[in-house]
Symmetry: C2
Subunit: 357 residues, 2 copies
């Protein structure tokens, strides 16, 4: 099952395939999300994959979504707790699988699902396949910082990485930041322990050497440390998947702790409650700015198609943001951008030899 | 230069040796910190190492500190930007080195310095030496969480770790939490990427197997993820030094971002300013609870003595907290606790063979 380019196949009729049955509140939350997406992307066409009998009346009740959606029947759905291996064997007629198949067959440029993360990653890798130029796909996400949005990757697709993997993550992160954040030359930081006395490891230093070479044409900032994520020192934060997964969740945990403490502060006394009411407009802006729904969407980069995982528990607003991310990648030539960058790496210049693992 | 136990040497006259010349505001901030420490530890005796001519009048002006301090002259001080290798060669008469020497010679049970981190770590490892039972020392710190203070280690002393190192970190973290947080059976979590679909790496799984064995007598919680740090899911968070360094700084960065955003919120309008004034007592308690000075002190665990690094830029309050941590370790038999735990590991039961690196 190879990916045909649209020109070759003449097949591509859909911007995105949507797994209508994935997520805690599917299919309603998915369809409500598509109402919002239809407003923002009026010329898009979505292939809505799921239980036709359930979807038809729901879609009829949402004319704005109906205008941009076509239903494809899928008799099954992959449960949230199914192991990836089981999903591969038993999920052939599932909404997730048929949506992914549509990407592999060139019918759609990408897929969005709020379903089982492990199943989506496994199915996407096997069905859509990794780009021939890329060693390993990476999981990316967008996070807030003091100086605008920041792309973080890898967030756990690769627990062990070598220097070559890190270089590829930088290239994919660069292409992603161009497509989704609209930055012409995003700055790239490579995560390290940084301070002089605590030496970074060899693979990080080796990756930095390659990224510094002018031939890569990347805006490589150099090494960064953990606090640089929230400070917004760079636009793209490159890490191995173990570190990235821990860093993302540690940062989220710290922000949640702070939100919980503030809630306690503002309910601790009558004057504090009044204080909250007075500061409320500004506090609401802060809350909105940090709204996790604005940052919904984990993106599997490096496949022959766009694959976006929406958080399973999100609502229509969150799902629409995940669709936004996928649409930005589709319309801004994300995959071609990666190919161009990788071809520059292949030209004479420093290369990563003897990768370690 | 071996470490004599006090009973053997009959030498130990000091609770702690203090590097009087290390830190941005030394020696004044150090001496002011000792005034506070003298109140909290009235029976302690500190060996104050530094420039005698400068220290004598400063100490005379602080009678509370003078009562618990003896000065030892050191003609040199190690600059903040000196490389560890240079500190080893050229720092033989420095305040830091002579303070560390006092620990190695059994004159003091521990040392506190706000000086050059890399130099302190290198000198301590070489002069005080690693405990024979421990493969590699680890850097630990205390952080706030929703459920009380949490011990994090390793924070960067070991960029690459094998399973055996992680097991030793767990044992050292257990002993540290008992001594400094006063917990009788601290729960230990091993950092992983956690979710089913994203498999953790082998060394983490191998370490977990050992830690689960009843013979270790540890309260091992199992795997945790990044968000568990701030949630306070466990009392001790065990990680390799690369991950730990990034996690610590990422969490600090997220909290700093939130503090900066709140400052903006409360200065954004007249009503917001008034709201701040009304909620101020509760906000001040929150600020106090998160005060970085309360968490000052990075501790190098696994040496034949207590070695605490105070933040270079801290004030008297912060330095006194670092002294508190060192005093807790000295008075609660921290090093004996590690020895006892390690001896249990050596008894029949699962062991870590073929460590990977």
């Amino acid at each position: 099952m190879n990916v045909a380019t649209p020109a070759e196949a003449g097949l591509r009729r859909f911007s995105l395939a949507i797994d209508a049955m994935g997520g805690d509140h599917a299919p309603e939350s998915v369809l409500d999300g598509l109402v919002l997406a239809a407003e923002r992307h009026p010329r898009a066409q979505f292939l809505l994959v799921g239980d036709e009998a359930r979807l038809t009346p729901l879609l009829a009740a949402r004319p704005a979504a109906a205008r941009v959606c076509a239903i494809r029947h899928a008799p099954d759905a992959i449960p949230g707790d199914m192991k990836p291996t089981a999903a591969l064997r038993q999920g052939r007629n599932s909404s997730m699988r048929l949506a992914i198949d549509a990407v592999a067959q060139g019918e759609a440029a990408g897929v969005v699902s709020a379903g089982n993360t492990g199943a989506l990653m496994a199915l996407a890798k096997i069905v859509v396949k990794t780009m021939p130029e890329i060693g390993r796909p990476a999981l990316a996400a967008i996070a807030p910082s003091a100086r605008g949005d920041v792309v973080m990757l890898d967030l756990g697709a690769n627990v062990q990485c070598d220097a070559r993997n890190l270089v590829e993550f930088a290239i994919m992160g660069d292409a992603f930041a161009r497509a989704v954040l609209g930055l012409p030359g995003p700055s790239i930081g490579l995560m390290n322990v940084g301070s002089e006395e605590l030496k970074g490891d060899d693979r990080v230093r080796q990756a930095a050497e390659v990224l510094r070479a002018p031939s890569t044409a990347l805006n490589f900032h150099g090494f960064i440390e953990g606090h640089d994520i929230a400070a917004g020192t760079v636009d793209v934060v490159v890490m191995d998947g173990f570190t990235g997964n821990v860093a993302l969740k540690t940062g989220e945990g710290a922000l949640k702790l702070m939100r919980d403490m503030l809630r306690q502060v503002f309910t601790s006394s009558i004057p504090a409650r009044m204080g909250y009411l007075l500061a409320r407009p500004a506090l609401d802006r802060l809350r909105e700015w940090m709204d996790p729904r604005r940052y919904n969407g984990a993106i599997l980069l490096g496949l022959n198609g766009v694959v976006v995982k929406s958080h399973g528990g999100t609502d229509a607003t969150g799902f629409a943001h995940a669709v936004d991310v996928a649409m930005d990648m589709v319309t801004h030539g994300f995959i071609q951008q990666i190919r161009d960058s990788l071809s520059r790496l292949a030209t004479p210049g420093p290369s990563v030899t003897a990768p370690q693992d």
